[in-house]
């Protein structure tokens, strides 16, 4: 079952913040976040497991709200290099990783 991501796209100026949400109607075991630049492979950012932990990668962090079955990715003080499409991938009670439709982030100088 595919998770739902929002927003579909966001445009930022350097230094601004943004939040990307990923939600599921089923109980999640883990949420993965990947970033994909145009024409390239997705690159792993972080994984969050059941338990509501928060993780970080540079100035990008994420949280996992088990009660809401939702994960949020926080882009703080965005840099030009943050541009790309962010996918959340969700795992339920098996190993399959299902990806959301993606959020395209454009950071402008």
């Amino acid at each position: 079952q595919q998770p739902v991501q929002s927003p579909q796209a966001v445009i930022l100026r350097e230094g601004e913040d943004a939040v990307i949400n990923c939600s599921s109607s089923k109980a999640l075991y883990s949420v993965h976040w990947y970033r994909q630049k145009h024409g390239e492979a997705p690159v792993f950012l972080m994984i969050l497991l059941k338990g509501g932990e928060q993780k970080g990668h540079e100035k990008i962090s994420a949280s996992f709200n088990e009660k809401k079955q939702q994960s949020s990715l926080y882009l703080t003080a965005s840099q030009l290099s943050y541009s790309g499409t962010y996918f959340c991938g969700t795992r339920y009670n098996d190993y399959k990783l299902s990806f959301g439709a993606g959020t395209t982030v454009t950071v402008r100088a």
Binding site: A41, F44, I47, L49, F87, D94, L97, F99, A101, G102
Partner: protein, 114 residues
């Protein structure tokens, strides 16, 4: 560096002409996946191998086949490509199948069907 390598980077084939995409890995991972990603869409899992065990997704067309002759290599065969099969094909690996395992992706093969 250990990595996932896909060849070729770009592949052009003709409608109905069989095509094979290849993936190799130096990570010695047990699991190899094939994802199809159409323009502006999320990657969609086609199938995966856990060691020699092939696992097909229920909605993967019969036109798509896969082979894994050894741990390092995995192939995606499209028997009769249609225009709708034009997409980026991503190979990925993971050490094992588990909820906390991350995927390592190759750079992908962009397939065009003329």
């Amino acid at each position: 560096d250990a990595m996932v390598i896909q060849n070729p980077r770009y592949q052009v084939t003709q409608f109905g002409k069989p095509v094979t995409l290849s993936c190799s890995q130096t990570l010695n991972h047990n699991v190899m996946y094939w994802y199809q990603q159409k323009s502006s869409q999320a990657p969609k899992l086609l199938f995966h191998y856990y060691d020699k065990d092939f696992n097909n997704e229920a909605d993967t067309p019969d036109n798509f086949q896969s082979r894994r002759p050894n741990t390092s290599f995995c192939f995606l065969d499209i028997r009769s490509p249609g225009l709708g099969d034009a997409a980026m094909y991503l190979c990925a690996t993971s050490r094992v199948r588990a909820t906390n395992e991350k995927l390592f992706f190759g750079s992908g093969t962009q397939l065009s069907v003329l």
